[in-house]
Symmetry: C2
Subunit: 217 residues, 2 copies
DNA sequence: CCTTGTGAAAACTTTCACAGCT
DNA sequence: AGCTGTGAAAGTTTTCACAAGG
């Protein structure tokens, strides 16, 4: 399949998972692997792995599998690992400040460069324990003119989520990692990825309690 | 469709989202709603909402929509909102302690009752700022005999993830909310829900950078 | 042998479109 | 008129199964 083709959404969502796994293998000194091995580690089907890779061209060799170094390099290009992404944090409460300190940074391309909160007196530190400047919400649009961040972590209370989102949109943010349970409204050129921890926990409980009445588990 | 039928996985995953939204409407004093309104708020298709609800019986009235109180009550049963779920936290670092303090508790049925860490000297507080006991990892199996938790939040470093998981399985945990990027191995009667924050961020960046080459966005 | 890449089938999910109830 | 519930169609994703290359 040609490199220029359109990638299915499901495949796109697995790319960072592949990349992380391949980097682990690389760190462990492995040189090559197979769809079988990858599938086993990541709990996918081997055919899914081969199909996913095939959207990007013929990356493997029949009988031999895939060269890890080449794949890591290739996906690094695809995932734009090179580009540094400035991210701003909105809402510096518990989750917000934990996220600032968290290393998203396995991939090294994400930098939380500033935080915004209704209380700018709080302090937020990054994964290297360096302090991140915390500004008032009212300064967000102006400050992001300097910072030029395209991405934001939204970690405000649900009741403030839409209002904060509107500010982010005005500030030119193109991607929002939304930790609130509200499905915020954004223009169609802005992407949101919802990480609703309460829902994840409730789903898990539901799956455990109803193993027998959910399809294909 | 009969109540005893099997629920599609996609539907099951949306249930907590519906429930959260319906409770918000209830808190706002709303009495009834429609698939149209729900879909608008949650960014689903109205037909998806009606189809999802239909797996549980005929919950609405033609021409009128759905009664909110009745639906909330109904889903509370389905989601087992009544049952209190004891949850143990494994790994009391940044993310772990933020999660203990986080209120998963919108639903009121999740209680983080104990934490385990290689360093049991750390302190962890819950959403009400009460201290949660922190035990050594070695005591996990024995302690969970007393506690009887079925669910765990796994927030250890990736390198310790499989080992910690094995302990959780031995302790009788049936559901693991896995915040590590490792796809851990568990027996088939144990469920994992992966919340890989690095991957969510990488996906978001990929979607924004490649809007034109991903299907159906 | 081994393992990839991929047509084709199967499975799952979403959406359309409308009959039927209020 | 308004809105549900659902067959049927469309779209998407996964999996099978095998030809072909190493």
């Amino acid at each position: 399949m040609a490199e220029t083709d359109i990638i299915p959404r499901a495949t796109a969502q697995r790319l960072p998972i592949y990349q992380h796994h391949l980097k682990s293998l690389q760190d462990a000194g492995e040189k090559s692997t197979s769809s079988q091995e990858i599938a086993l580690a990541l709990k996918f089907d081997p055919a899914t792995v081969r199909r996913d890779f095939s959207f990007f061209g013929e990356l493997g060799k029949r009988g031999l599998g895939y060269k890890i170094d080449a794949l890591v390099e290739f996906f690094a290009q695809k995932l734009n690992d090179v580009k540094q992404n400035n991210v701003i944090l909105v809402g510096a409460g518990n989750i917000g400040s934990a996220l600032a300190k968290f290393n998203f940074y396995t991939a090294d391309n994400v930098n939380v460069v500033a935080a915004f909160d209704i209380n700018p007196a709080v302090t937020v530190v990054n994964d290297e324990d360096k302090q991140i400047p915390v500004y008032s919400m009212g300064d967000l649009v102006a400050k992001n003119k300097e910072i030029g961040a395209e991405f934001a972590i939204l970690a405000v209370p649900e009741s403030a989520a839409q209002e904060a989102t509107d500010v982010l949109v005005e500030a030119g943010i193109k991607g929002i990692l939304n930790f609130t349970p509200l499905r915020v409204n954004v223009p169609k050129d802005v992407f949101t990825q919802n990480v609703d921890l309460t829902r994840e926990m409730q789903s898990l409980i539901y799956f455990v309690d109803n193993k027998d009445s959910i399809k294909s588990i």
